[in-house]
């Protein structure tokens, strides 16, 4: 009671500011990071462009265009509009098969973004289930997971993905979405292991914390403890890992399409465009550097965003 006695009369202690949640704090920190904000804007712009690609006034990405505009013209390749012989209707020109490059770039963004997000979603879902079970229950699931990760870590994932893709190329699954479904599956099959291991580690360290013990002591079920205590507290590292996972998947798809076993032509992909233009790199380097730049910009944006999220969600790094 000494404390109340010491307080001067008439003074009311009020909260001088609203209580802030962890997430609101993190968002504030994220917004202060210029690179992360710029990257988020770039990603949103690319995503909007990709999502509404069909509504934009573009030439179809898979049709031969030059002949229509230049009947009787010699080559089918049109240079970009700023070069001699360029046509303002085809801003970035057309490729060796006479297809509009700008349109292919924009439609190609669809593939890169889908390949970035969908496998990550699958990986997080599987990783959560397996990682939580392994971390919380321990025992056989845990042992199996650890042994599996040992094997997976000892093996380059891209190599496995390539083997899997080439093995399943002739199956009906490989025809769905021009082969995209098979790519999603192959990327996820390897990717979930690392995520599960990360989540398992989170669960193991949280499990020993006092508030979990408190929850258990009031008779909460394991399931409720996992959903309402362990999961929210391990979300931050999961979000960071997922954000860093996105550029990894985008690069893998670009490599696969570049080697020629990724998405099936004629569906445009940036990696495939690099491959298409490569044989002509001396005469038309823009057919290679434009899609390559797109891959670099998108992966850089996700990396900077991931860096920003990590710093924002882990206040210890900032102070």
């Amino acid at each position: 009671m000494a404390v109340t006695a010491a307080a001067p009369k008439g003074v009311v202690f009020e909260n001088t500011r609203k209580p802030r949640s962890l997430w609101r704090d993190a968002l504030r920190r994220l917004m202060r990071n210029k690179m992360a904000v710029a990257s988020a804007i770039v990603i949103i712009l690319i995503a909007l462009m990709a999502a509404f690609a069909s509504f934009l006034p573009l030439h179809p990405p898979v049709d031969y265009q030059s002949r229509a505009t230049d009947p009787g013209g010699g080559g089918t390749r049109l240079p970009p509009s700023w070069q001699d012989g360029g046509n303002s209707k085809f801003l970035l020109g057309t490729d060796a098969s006479g297809r509009d490059v700008l349109s292919r770039i924009i439609f190609g963004a669809q593939v890169s973004l889908m390949v970035g997000f969908i496998p990550v979603a699958i990986v997080v879902a599987i990783g959560l289930i397996v990682g939580m079970t392994a971390g919380f229950m321990g025992g056989r699931v845990d042992m199996l997971l650890m042994r599996l990760t040992d094997v997976v870590y000892a093996f380059p994932d891209l190599l496995f993905i390539i083997i899997m893709l080439s093995a399943l190329r002739g199956t009906p699954m490989a025809n769905i979405l021009d082969g995209l479904l098979l790519i999603f599956v192959s990327l996820s099959v390897i990717g979930w292991v690392g995520m599960a291991r990360l989540i398992r580690g989170q669960v193991l360290s949280l499990k020993e914390k006092e508030f979990i013990e408190a929850a258990r002591s009031i008779g909460m079920s394991n399931r409720r403890i996992m959903v309402s205590h362990v999961l929210p507290n391990s979300l931050a590292p999961i979000i960071v890992a997922a954000t860093f996972g996105v550029p990894g998947f985008i690069i893998s798809e670009a490599i696969l399409s570049y080697i020629g076993i990724g998405v099936r032509p004629p569906r445009p992909t940036w990696g495939g465009m690099v491959q298409d233009g490569y044989s002509n790199i001396n005469a038309a380097p823009h057919l290679v550097w434009i899609p390559a730049a797109c891959i670099a910009i998108l992966t850089l944006a996700f990396t900077f965003l991931g860096d920003g999220l990590r710093d924002a969600l882990d206040p210890r790094m900032n102070d």
Partner: protein, 311 residues
């Protein structure tokens, strides 16, 4: 230490077994076989296919094929190539190892020579512009995929400036190696720079560094003897994952620069469905990575006495 090494060496066996079983079954799950021809070509006559199948043991049940293959592989015989008659997969791989090995080692060396000094400088000048530039460079270096980087190197230095060949044909010429080595080394260099930086910052906060300073050692001596030496331990351990990264990176870079190495061999084997070449190269890669990790883990124990105590 010795039991640990033995355990680690024995651990290679199940890893390679799993890799071989998975690859083997994936290859054989695939519809179509190595004798399929494209639709525009004349299919091979049935009796020839039967003879080929017999010659390559493809007429036996799959588990028997696997056992026959592994029995050969253990004795160093990776079987004949399906697409290059008369050639043995083991010899074909051996022919290409010098190219891939040289590329990988050069890239690793370059990554160490760039990454570690960059990280050291950044850490010692923490929160100055030197640090920010180093961090920015290493973020870009680790985010931009090596094949995109390789393509830009080609466009700038080979196509525009004409300093190096676009597609080298003479690999005895040192100029052929410059661009692929740089392209392959940037990712690992960036990774090492970041790791070295954070490792040094961590060590600088340790009590023994304060002690070293308190007893009046010159800053150079503190940094070299107390900080660098200890900061290099975590850097050493990532050489394992970096080896794996170089291996993965190598077959893309070999493709971009037409290096006649194991990676390009693997990619062409995939498109030709050459089972024995795919199996052979996959096992070779798995062995390289597993051995890399093994060497790193074992030497790690030698460098850091604390590891032995906790074992």
């Amino acid at each position: 230490m010795t039991p640990y090494i033995i355990r680690r060496v024995l651990w290679l066996v199940p890893v390679l077994l799993v890799v071989s079983v998975v690859t083997f079954s994936l290859m054989h799950m695939a519809p179509g076989g190595p004798w399929d021809r494209d639709s525009d070509q004349k299919p091979l006559p049935a009796h020839i296919i039967a003879r080929l199948n017999k010659q390559f043991n493809l007429d036996k049940p799959i588990h028997e094929q696997y056992l026959l293959y592994m029995w050969g592989a253990v004795r160093g015989d990776l079987g004949p190539s399906y697409t290059q008659p008369g050639k043995n997969v083991g010899e074909l791989i051996l022919d290409r190892i010098p190219y891939s090995g040289r590329l990988g080692l050069q890239a690793l060396l370059l990554a160490v020579l760039i990454g570690i000094p960059l990280g050291v400088i950044a850490a010692l000048r923490q929160n100055t512009w030197v640090d920010y530039i180093a961090l920015f460079l290493s973020t870009i270096g680790s985010a931009v995929p090596s094949f995109v980087l390789g393509i830009y190197l080609i466009i700038v230095f080979a196509v525009a400036l004409n300093l190096f060949p676009v597609a080298a044909s003479d690999w005895g010429d040192w100029r052929a190696w410059v661009l692929p080595t740089i392209a392959l080394s940037v990712g690992p260099a960036a990774y090492m720079a970041r790791l070295t930086r954070s490792s040094i910052l961590e060590i600088l906060r340790q009590d023994y560094v304060r002690t070293a300073r308190a007893k009046g050692l010159r800053e150079n001596v503190v940094v070299v003897r107390h900080v660098l030496k200890n900061a290099m331990i975590p850097v050493w351990t990532v050489l394992g994952p970096i080896t794996a990264g170089l291996v993965t990176g190598s077959f893309v870079i070999e493709q971009v620069f037409s290096v006649p190495g194991v990676g390009r061999f693997f990619v062409s084997a995939i498109s030709q469905r050459d089972y024995s070449m795919i199996m052979g190269t996959t096992l070779f890669y798995a062995l390289v990575i597993a051995l890399g990790n093994l060497i790193i883990d074992v030497t790690y124990g030698l460098f850091d006495p604390r590891i032995k105590v906790s074992k």
